[in-house]
């Protein structure tokens, strides 16, 4: 957990980093407790005393963010929606970086044929259009949280692999690698004991940026109608509003999920940038 403490200390050095850290922490907390504190269920239809469905009610004391066309409480949906966004986001980000780190390490370390083969494969994946690929995958495999994570990971690892390979290429030249070699270290030990710890900072920066992208992408998938039908996420709230064609009559339905995504993703961006500036001091400025 040493790197985690280092990460927290590093991002605390700037004000933007500090604020973002607590915003992300608050969102994680919301994802954990949201469903418990939500006054209504995500698919619960709300009826008034006369037994009529409470459709498209503007924000009131009972429904802080109003209700949808289907009589659902937007505030409750917002609380439920944090969890899928963060689960998909984190799972994808870690999957992406896990593949990216391994491809980058092996490709960069061995070089030669292995390297050119792996980089050709990476290039092919770079040629695949991002969102269309995910949508086609989901159309074929069916929509669930797991398939969304798999489809996103399959297409997102490509950029992480490139960045990490470049880093491995420069670390490979360091004297301590040669030292490990002379003391009889095998390839495996050199790759994972000597080089890997040194790319951790870059990997962590990549986790942050992948997380930001994954959250936006999860919302886009939800908006296009390919979200997990069993879960309510911020993206699917926007989709419901869009599909009902009532979104422009009911701004309270569309505005909150977008703002939530915007706050969370900007916080993650700022966090990634704050950390990047500590681990890569050549980047001046901020």
């Amino acid at each position: 957990m040493n790197w985690l403490r280092h990460f927290v200390e590093a991002v605390h050095q700037t004000r933007a980093g500090r604020i973002s850290f607590y915003v992300v922490l608050a969102c994680i907390l919301l994802a954990v407790v949201g469903p418990w504190i939500a006054p209504y269920g995500p698919f619960e239809r709300i009826y008034d005393v006369d037994g009529r469905l409470v459709r498209l009610s503007p924000p009131t004391a009972d429904h802080w963010l109003g209700t949808t066309l289907y009589g659902r409480d937007v505030f409750s949906q917002m609380l439920w929606g944090a969890r899928p966004a963060l689960i998909v986001g984190f799972a994808t980000a870690f999957g992406v970086v896990a593949i990216g780190v391994n491809v980058g390490l092996i490709s960069g370390f061995y070089g030669g044929r292995i390297d050119s083969l792996m980089m050709r494969i990476t290039d092919i994946f770079l040629g695949l259009p991002f969102l269309p690929f995910i949508i086609v995958m989901l159309a074929i495999t069916g929509r669930s949280t797991t398939t969304i994570i798999i489809a996103m990971t399959l297409i997102m690892w490509r950029s992480a692999a490139r960045v990490i390979r470049a880093q491995v290429l420069s670390i490979k030249q360091a004297p301590f690698v040669a030292a490990a070699r002379t003391t009889g270290g095998g390839d495996f030990s050199i790759i994972y004991r000597e080089i890997a710890p040194n790319i951790m900072p870059i990997a962590l920066v990549n986790v942050a940026f992948s997380l930001a992208w994954a959250i936006i992408t999860e919302a886009s998938i939800g908006f296009l109608g390919y979200g997990d039908p069993k879960a309510t996420s911020w993206g699917t709230i926007i989709h419901d509003a869009y599909a009902s064609q009532m979104m422009y009559q009911a701004p309270w339905w569309v505005i909150p999920p977008g703002i939530a995504i915007m706050i969370l993703v900007s916080a993650v961006y700022f966090l990634g940038r704050a950390y990047e500036h500590v681990v890569n001091p050549r980047l001046v400025g901020q």
């Binding site: 993206g235 977008g258 915007m262 969370l264 900007s266 001046v284």
Partner: protein, 323 residues
């Protein structure tokens, strides 16, 4: 240089070929049979078989694969499951619609983004710079389809300045031709998606150019230009900005491919009949020949874009070695 272009061309063909292979096996081998929409299990087994034979699905997979490659190589995309029309017929016009929306907007975003980023980096410090950086990051973090919806809400519904979507007023141009693309009505419809897309895409080059400028300003040659007594504007644009441009330019192919892939969402919000929207409609109707063809064309545009951008570096930075 010529050798480099040739090598890149060969790479491009290999990538295209690999992509088509991935696509073929994705549609054929993954769980969930796309032919299910056409051949229902309620049909007589004999009829099912006849149908399979008609589509060539009774042939071995390898043979199907070769036929598929041959068809795509000759731009024969087959027939739509949904409308029984030829897919190539449905595609015509769609490519132009997507490019007309995405390309000008990307050019403006990069041009204006680089200029603004250079100015921000040069006159750094102060509240103005901080707030621009903050706004740009927040905009970049917002889902673009949501920005589109807000823009429609504000500019179309409340203010009534722009139509809320579609290519042209329905019925005005029954046959899409050049006259339509230069008409005032079309430009009026294009304005809002163009503005939203540009506002969203400008953030990345702007922020990158700013950091790149900050790094360049510290370099000796900028100091030297000052000592020589060059005018401020000359140092800014002729020396500092020019040298900061390269890291920004290298991101063009990546961002362009993101934008083309992202056409799926922006076209959906604005009911813009481009490739992305066609693909989404195809997926919704399980019209797999259409999905496959649209996906293929988006990928081809991406690959061509990357290739062109790679060649452009050479013009921008003479230091690049074509190994």
């Amino acid at each position: 240089m010529r050798q480099y272009i040739l090598r890149r061309l060969i790479h491009m063909v290999i990538t295209l070929f690999a992509m088509m292979t991935i696509m073929f096996f994705m549609f054929r081998l993954l769980p969930g049979d796309p032919t299910m929409t056409m051949i229902s299990s309620a049909m007589y087994p004999k009829a099912q078989e006849a149908m399979r034979a008609q589509f060539g699905l009774d042939k071995p997979l390898i043979e199907q694969y070769l036929i598929y490659l041959k068809n795509y190589a000759t731009l024969n995309f087959g027939y739509s499951f949904h409308s029984s029309r030829q897919v190539s017929e449905l595609l015509s016009g769609r490519i132009v619609n997507t490019l007309v929306l995405i390309l000008p907007s990307m050019i403006v975003a990069y041009g204006l983004g680089a200029l603004l980023g250079a100015l921000l980096g040069w006159y750094r410090g102060g509240r103005f710079e901080t707030s621009i950086v903050f706004v740009a990051t927040a905009l970049q973090a917002a889902p673009v389809f949501w920005l589109g919806m807000l823009a429609i809400l504000l500019f179309s519904i409340n203010l009534g300045w722009f139509p809320p979507g579609h290519l042209v007023t329905p019925g005005m141009f029954p046959d899409q031709n050049l006259r339509m693309y230069v008409s005032a009505d079309f430009l009026h419809h294009l304005a809002l998606p163009f503005l939203v897309h540009t506002a969203y895409q400008i953030c990345f080059p702007l922020l990158l150019m700013r950091s790149s400028m900050l790094a360049t300003i510290g370099e000796d040659f900028v100091e030297f230009a000052r000592i020589k007594g060059l005018r401020e504007r000359k140092i800014l644009f002729g020396h500092a900005a020019r040298n900061s441009l390269l890291p920004v330019a290298t991101t063009i192919p990546m961002i362009l491919s993101w934008a083309l892939a992202g056409s799926v969402v922006i076209e959906t919000v604005f009911s813009w009949p481009g490739l992305g929207k066609l693909m989404i409609e195809g997926v919704q109707r399980s019209d797999f020949p259409v999905v496959q063809a649209a996906f293929f064309l988006i990928a081809v545009l991406t690959i061509i874009g990357t290739f062109t951008a790679d060649l452009l570096y050479g013009l921008l930075d003479p230091r690049i070695v074509y190994d």
